[in-house]
Amino acid sequence: MPSVRLNQHSAIEFDGTDANLLCALERHQQQVNFHCREGYCGACRCKLLSGEVRYLTEPLAFVRSGEFLPCCSIPLTDISIEVP
């Protein structure tokens, strides 16, 4: 079960009950910006500090290296992320 470390402190477990990382973050009362939830608007862009994620659908939004979209991805390993 991969853990998701947020902004260098609290960590949550990604236990598979959530469809994607955005849902998991929301279920743990983390405020993440979002619009489309389908990977094409890029509103939920976060920084991926360490670890790996897998995209469920390839994002259409521009994603810089070191960034990822939680709305259409799940963690492959333990990850550390920064939510703006």
């Binding site: 619009h35 489309c36 608007c41 862009r45 939004a61 521009f62 810089r64």
Partner: protein
Amino acid sequence: MAYTTFNRQINDQLKEPMFFGNPVNVSRYDQQKYGIFEKLIEKQLSFFWRPEEVDVSKDRIDFQNLPEHEKHIFISNLKYQTLLDSVQGRSPNVAFLPIVSLPELETWIETWAFSETIHSRSYTHIVRNISAEPHKVFDDIMLNEKILQRAEDVTRYYDALIDGINLYQRCGEGTHTINGETHTISLYELKRRLYLCVMSVNVLEAIRFYVSFACSFAFAERELMEGNAKIIRLIARDEALHLTGTQHMLNIMAAGDDDPQMAQIAKECEEEAYAIFRKAAEQEKDWAEFLFKDGSMIGLNKDILCQYVEYITNSRMQAIGLKPIFSTTQNPIPWINTWLVSDNVQVAPQEAEISSYLVGQIDNEVDGADFGDFDL
């Protein structure tokens, strides 16, 4: 060099830059330099909708019952949206098509502008429904000082680029005397105008539109003008895609692999890019003041809308690698997100009271018995 609608020169399209290379000859998509634009086209086509599909008849009653100051907010907002889409329905074609060099990008620009024309037609659909005299609403757009001020900044960068392209394609680089007036143009200057134009389009789509969406959805949050909100939601879904398109263009330009000069221009224009964002945010705040001059509405007032302007400006700047200019970090109207989720857009036709649902339905099952009472 002059524009040609079918460039006879045999070229490797994969080696062309996005803009100012050879004009496109064969519109082929079997090979793509930037596959993202093909994906955007496919997504945009999958979003296709028509304004007539949305029943706005209940809005007429809602509108008649609105207090005067809310009527002002609603109509002014709609006029502003009409202006923005009037510009966006034609300008990407006129400005970018003569200089584009990649078939997938060329088709994306056409697909993008086409979807804006649907938005324009939907405003007429809305206005016809709420007003017995739609011409008064549209006529006022050309007379309304507040809207015209915005039009100036929305169109300035397009016009400068188009003017430069006309001169360059007719006369080439250098100083030219035309009708007694001297004009100077260089390819570098044209590229600079292109970069600033795409930047200003990004601001239009990523900030100006969203400020207007907030107003449209604020009515619907109170279960008013819901037909209008359904249409705006479809428009917002398209706009999210368009601004992704312009963000890709800006980021490809800034990276420099496509055209090293563009990367240099992106650096040189950084100050100007900040200024474009800053000015747009100021204008949108002025606009908020005009909207709410006679009073606020439940859920939205001048201050909240101004905070949203700051929030959305910051977020859009970060998307293209600029630093935020405002201290606001929280979305003051989190309820807007629910209206922007694409999942929620599609509803079953029979649930949405779509008037065209049964129009044009054809029964393909034909039986011999169907001709039983048919005589020649």
